[in-house]
């Protein structure tokens, strides 16, 4: 691992401490970024293994592998691990690595806080693992956490001790991401090099600025909601119990007030990566930089006031439903603007198709597709037919895998040369791209048909008519899972060696608002800038 960040210490100052102290006590943004990235890589395989189990169980009708409760436990933790354990830490890792270098800062604004926000994550992961095993290792452990990641009461009140571990895991994850967000926003506002004005910042920095603000705004709401749930479970309150004057739907409002902006928390950093990758490999400046920045601001603001589109069937008033419907449909404006800006960036450019660019192009196509199914879902009466079917599952996997995960893969391939000092194997990278993209589509495209035919989500067993599409989806799923072993191999191979990367790989194609990271050697020194660079 240390090969990834071995200091090329051309400066007079001290290098990193040796051994475990370097990592446990680290206040260096690059080392912490590396830890975030490895943590999320580990969680990718952890959450991926759960997905493999889910697809294996759904391969054919009948309950073959484990009990319905275990199945729904895996559905719950697959989501929690992928959202909180994989995508968010990976995006935070990239923010840690890249933002200080992009804006010409010596390090993050709050290095010790940075250390804390990372080291809360392994503790939270341990809590999540405990929530899975608790029902089996504790006497009277009760039912596994079978609620789905939304943890909706009253079902979550029937769950055993595993739910309490889940609640505490969410508390720790929440604290971790609030601290990380405070740190990143502070860094962006205060640590820019002279001349690096806000409107000169790379799009990735802007995307994390809005992501950070969103997290600071909505994470406390989730923490409050799960704390109320904890009180309902153990201390006799009845926030969510009609028998005591409460309302189970209140939890849904609180959860989705967090949950919908959370979607943009996952998406925005990847939009930021696209804003760097597409211009680089089109060899011309980003089209509509300002409108992208304002588009992200609009998206973040609008994203905070449309949460109830996740709960159209709860029976809201006609006026409220109309409001949430129209607000949700309007989200297509900033998203459409962003995607078209990326297409116009490619327009009249001079494109080459390295792995990050391949991912970039695939994201534009597949995320547009998620966008149009999103508009279909936003239409309330139609949603009353799609609600809680596999159509929704297909929609949000199209949004989150291309929109967030592939964006992160694009970022990994884009910055691997900078991080490690070695070029990745382009041939393997391309094989990985085609393999994941094709198998992803085989996995999730048929799920649209399943949903339209009425197959509910979160079911362990289904009727015969859904068999064939589920088989296709499972085969695609196994191929998709397998492709990630190649991903791991490419990363290890690049860390261990390979063609030396220049400071500006790809013949210096980085144009426009590409950031100061390309002025540093690959890999950059342990302390990036000892003197503040000046941006003209």
């Amino acid at each position: 691992m240390s090969g990834a960040v071995t200091a090329h210490d051309d400066h007079h100052d001290h290098g990193p401490p040796k051994g475990w102290q370097r990592w446990l006590y680290s206040t260096n943004h690059k080392d912490i970024g590396t830890m975030y990235l490895f943590f999320s890589l580990f969680m990718l395989f952890f959450g991926g293994a759960m997905a493999m189990y889910i697809r294996a169980e759904l391969f054919m009708p009948g309950v073959q592998l484990a009990s319905p409760n275990f199945y729904n436990n895996m559905v719950t933790d697959h989501a929690l691990v992928m959202v909180f354990g994989m995508v968010m830490p990976a995006a935070a890792g990239m923010a840690n690595w890249m933002i200080p270098m992009m804006i010409g800062a010596p390090d993050m604004a709050l290095p010790r806080l940075n250390n804390l926000s990372f080291w809360l994550l392994p503790a939270a992961a341990l809590m999540l693992v405990l929530s899975i095993v608790a029902p089996y290792i504790f006497p009277n452990g009760g039912t596994p956490v079978n609620t789905g990641w939304t943890l909706l009461p009253p079902l979550s009140k029937q769950v055993g001790i595993g739910m309490d571990f889940t609640i505490f895991a969410i508390h720790l994850l929440g604290v971790s991401s609030i601290l990380a967000s405070i740190n990143i926003v502070t860094t962006i506002l205060n640590m820019r090099a002279p001349g690096m004005t806000l409107m000169k910042m790379p799009l990735f920095v802007w995307s994390w600025f809005f992501t950070g603000l969103l997290l600071i705004a909505v994470m406390p709401v989730l923490a409050g909601a799960v704390t109320m749930l904890l009180f309902d479970r153990h201390f006799g309150t009845s926030f969510f119990d009609a028998a005591g004057g409460g309302d189970p739907i209140l939890f849904q409002h609180l959860f989705w007030f967090f949950g919908h902006p959370e979607v943009y928390v996952l998406l925005l950093p990847s939009i930021g990566v696209l804003g760097l990758v597409i211009p680089t490999f089109s060899r011309k400046p980003l089209f509509g930089y300002k409108s992208l920045v304002w588009g992200m601001a609009f998206l973040a603001a609008l994203g905070m006031v449309v949460w109830a589109h996740h709960q159209y069937t709860i029976g809201m008033s006609l006026a409220a439903t109309n409001y949430f419907m129209i607000g949700t449909i309007l989200i297509s404006i900033p998203v459409g603007l962003m995607l078209l800006n990326f297409i116009f960036t490619m327009w009249r450019g001079s494109m080459t198709f390295e792995t990050p660019m391949l991912f970039g192009i695939a994201i534009i196509l597949m995320f547009s597709f998620a966008g149009v199914t999103g508009v279909m879902l936003a239409v309330v009466p139609a949603d009353m037919q799609y609600h809680d079917t596999m159509f929704v599952v297909a929609h949000f996997h199209y949004a989150l895998i291309p929109g967030a995960v592939f964006g992160l893969y694009a970022g990994v391939f884009y910055w691997l040369p900078k991080w490690t000092g070695h070029m990745y194997d382009e041939r393997l990278g391309k094989i990985f791209f085609w393999w994941t993209t094709i198998s992803f589509n085989i996995t999730f495209f048929p799920q649209h048909f399943l949903g339209l035919a009425g197959m509910p989500r979160r079911i362990v067993d289904y009727s015969v008519q859904y068999t064939d599409f589920n088989m296709i989806s499972s085969i695609g799923g196994f191929l998709f899972g397998l492709s990630h072993l190649l991903f791991l191999y490419i990363i290890i191979k690049t860390i261990r060696g390979g063609e030396k990367a220049p400071a500006k790989p790809w013949e210096g194609a980085q144009i426009g608002t590409a950031g100061l990271e390309w002025t540093l050697p690959s890999p950059p020194p342990f302390h990036s800038f000892t003197e503040a660079p000046v941006v003209r």
Partner: protein, 374 residues
């Protein structure tokens, strides 16, 4: 380089065609939303087709733009990047043009959706009102005007049966051509009831009442399931609606009423029941209401649902057993059966449980004991 890309594209196309081919081979395949069979789902279906068409057109345009860009602006073909493209008139005004076009599309969808929404949420006078109660894991339908109650449980079938997980013992019977109002509620956790062909979904919430409606146009059997995760049995609670002509519905209604009256008379009579009679009756009640959790062998599911066979309650004093069955165990999946079953049914099922599997108490619990324990 170019050849490799072409090969990859060909592989993608092959994979997609392969998927579709495998699918088309099956005659009864559905790619679209299930065909509607009621006034309201017809309206929704038309809306769905509108948004699907718009979505398809947008995807075709976006794909065409990307494919053209990939074809025309390649470095390998000597394309020269236009470094000023973002500064021409289009670059300066795209931020207005694009949102205006998208807004136009949005508003045309929203106005059409809004009028359909008003019909879905209308509360006109209904000819039949049915209260739908979701519980772990079955549906109970009550015809509020007639005092008829139908409990609808999963019919156990083999996984190879075409109706596996889609059929119930007693479907909800509804007349065609009449406006039917549904009042949805739940006895334990959230459930969600609906059947795409005839009635859009609404959530059922314990302690609250939700409303939806339909007017079925075609006779037939329509199938949905529970659409809100409700725990271990979520996959196993289908919602089946049997739509019949108004005449047949009247017949069915008269028959149900007389059966209900008969059962009520039987339950409130002073007859002292024999143990064997009660056990036989109790087995029916058990199969319908208790078996989903406690299993046919009375052993439950370890760690999830407690065993009744040899349990402290089912083998202990009668009073404790009655108390648990009538009032349930709050905070668990064990429901309070008092409001759901009559005295005779509770007496029978308790007797059955106390004299089955490893339980040999020999008790014969009478309906009057249940009445006293309520």
């Amino acid at each position: 380089m170019l050849e490799r890309r072409t090969a990859c594209l060909a592989a993608t196309l092959l994979a997609v065609v392969g998927c579709l081919g495998a699918a088309v081979a099956h005659a009864d395949y559905e790619y679209n939303l299930t065909p509607p069979a009621s006034t309201i789902t017809q309206e929704i279906f038309d809306l769905h087709m509108l948004t699907t068409t718009i979505a398809t057109i947008i995807m075709v345009i976006v794909t065409a733009m990307i494919i053209y860009a990939l074809y025309a602006f390649r470095h390998s073909q000597g394309a020269i990047p236009d470094q000023d493209f973002h500064n021409n008139w289009f670059g300066r005004w795209a931020w207005v043009l694009v949102p205006v076009i998208v807004l136009g599309i949005d508003l045309s969808i929203a106005s059409s959706a809004s009028s359909t929404l008003s019909s879905v949420e209308s509360h006109d006078k209904a000819d039949v009102t049915v209260k739908v109660t979701g519980s772990q894991w079955k549906w109970t339908y009550e015809y509020l005007d007639d005092g008829i109650k139908v409990v609808s449980n999963l019919k156990k079938l083999e996984p190879t049966d075409p109706l596996y997980l889609r059929d119930v013992d007693n479907p909800l019977v509804l007349p065609t051509g009449k406006r039917v109002r549904f009042l949805l509620t739940s006895s334990d956790v959230l459930h969600n009831w609906g059947g795409a062909e005839v009635v859009p979904k609404k959530i059922s919430i314990p302690g609250y009442i939700n409303e939806t409606w339909t007017n079925i146009t075609k006779e037939g059997v329509y199938r949905g399931q529970c659409y809100e995760n409700c725990g271990a049995g979520h996959a196993f609670m289908p919602a089946v609606i049997s739509a019949v002509s108004p005449d047949k519905f009247e017949q069915w209604r008269a028959q149900q009423k007389s059966q209900a009256a008969q059962a009520a008379a039987e339950a409130s009579s002073d007859k002292v029941w024999g143990k064997d009679e009660l056990v036989a009756k109790g087995q029916e009640v058990y199969t319908k209401n208790c078996m989903a959790c406690h299993q046919a062998n009375g052993k439950g599911l370890p760690g999830v649902f407690p065993a009744l066979s040899g349990s402290k309650i089912a083998d202990g004093p009668v009073a404790g057993h009655l108390e648990r069955v009538i009032h349930g165990k709050p905070g668990t999946a064990m429901a309070a059966w008092g409001p759901q079953l009559n005295d005779l049914e509770i007496a029978a099922v308790v007797t059955f449980e106390r004299n089955s599997w490893d339980n040999h108490t020999g008790d014969a619990v009478q309906p009057k004991d249940v009445k006293a324990a309520r």
